[in-house]
Amino acid sequence: MKCANCEKAFTDYLSGEMNPERTAKFEAHLEKCKKCRDEFKDFKKTWAKLADALNSEKLPELKLECSQRKKILDKPASAKISTSKFKHYPTTLKFAAAIILGVFIGLIAMPLFRKQIAREAFPRRYIHYKTTEKSYEAVKRKMMHPKAASELRTAIPIASKKSSVSVIKSKTDAAEKEIIECEEPVAAPVLVNESNGNIQVIRKGKPQYKNGICANAEITELKKVYFLDFSRNNIKSEKDFEAFLKKHNMPMPSRVKLDFKENKVTIHACPEMMRNLDEFFKKINAPAQKLDMPEPEQKKI
């Protein structure tokens, strides 16, 4: 062991923290080196004096109070000590941090739960009712959500009390197709989402087609195209067409599209009305009756 290392070992040796091997080396060096031996002697004296000075120092009489001792020995449940890491932070700061965290979570969670919140705040509503309303305007007024009302495609004026009016608006192409193919009128319950106004057609299971007819779809609207000679019937606008139908005691369908170029009219109507319209247009488009006209004179040669 060198002298520099020996000096570093003084404290460890006096503390009793040296391993036997190092202790042996240290003691061997002390026996050989007078300088280190004298220094160690001096160091040891200071160490002992310091221990004496600190241990004999008159400190105030330190003793826990009886109430403090009782508190320690009582059941732990009675002792309320916060072991939180944050207990040293001021209450205002903790409160502010809690508010900021709450707002942050709300901002993140809101889009996720918006649908759920909307669903609970605006429950869905079924519309399936029988009515004798004469126009879809009247039915539209019964719709609470403005968007649902504006998306009404058809509200067919029904003459018979037994008929039902169903409000439908399907956003899917499949449902559109069903509307066209179905011929039988079926009372159609419709789900209206009051939060966004979407109307959903309610079906019982998947649509099943039999011979081109949708057996289980609950749809009441049909779309058909008819040919009509507008010029012959003096029809130049929708108003003229309405007057034309009125003249023949036919109700005006809710949705009509006139194609003056092709002499076609596209009509959306419930199947019952569509049957009436079929007969009407057959009659209208029938060839003209032969009139009793004098035969032209044959010229004599």
Binding site: K8, S15, K49, L50, A51, L62, L64, I72, I81, H88
Partner: protein, 167 residues
């Protein structure tokens, strides 16, 4: 922790812990609070969680004292600089009996001039007879660092004492 074990620990460690806390805080009431809180915290620990209760208590008292000092920063400076309380030397001490007291006072004064960390290591080693490992647990430093700080502190103390004594 079980009540009987707690009672034994309280009887054994109340005085040394109070002494240790007092050296830190230089305030009787604060020292008692720190020790009380440490024991209460020990009492609410789950059985088996605290393996070495003595070391745990010293560590906890150390942490409590440090936290208390942090709250009163100005007081901390005053306290640590007078850790332990520095006392003036008597004007003259011709008798041998008084020489011993003088030496002790001088040593205490030199001790007070060490850094807080050095004073704490020396107090834990000499006054409380803690091993290097126990001191490292209490002060959250490595074992080798304990030996280094202790050696440095003792060397510094010896040098100052010799200078003062020579005057």
């Amino acid at each position: 922790m079980q009540r009987d074990k707690l009672t034994l620990l309280l009887a054994e460690l109340e005085a040394p812990l109070l002494r240790y806390a007092w050296r830190f805080l230089q305030n009787e009431a604060s020292a008692k609070d720190a020790v009380q809180e440490a024991f209460i915290q020990l009492s609410i620990q789950r059985p088996g969680k605290v393996i070495h209760a003595k070391a745990w208590l010293y560590r906890t008292v150390h942490n409590k004292c440090v936290n208390m000092l942090r709250k009163n920063f100005r007081r901390r400076e005053t306290v640590l600089n007078s850790f332990p309380a520095a006392t003036a030397l008597p004007a003259s001490a011709p008798d041998a009996g008084l020489k011993h007291d003088e030496t002790q006072l001088l040593l205490r004064r030199c001790f007070a001039q060490l850094t807080p960390r050095e004073r704490e290591v020396i107090a834990l080693k000499i006054e409380h007879n803690k091993s290097y490992r126990e001191i490292s647990d209490v002060m959250h430093i490595s074992v080798s660092n304990v030996g280094f700080i202790l050696h440095k502190a003792m060397k510094q103390l010896k040098r100052k004492f010799n200078e003062e004594y020579a005057k």
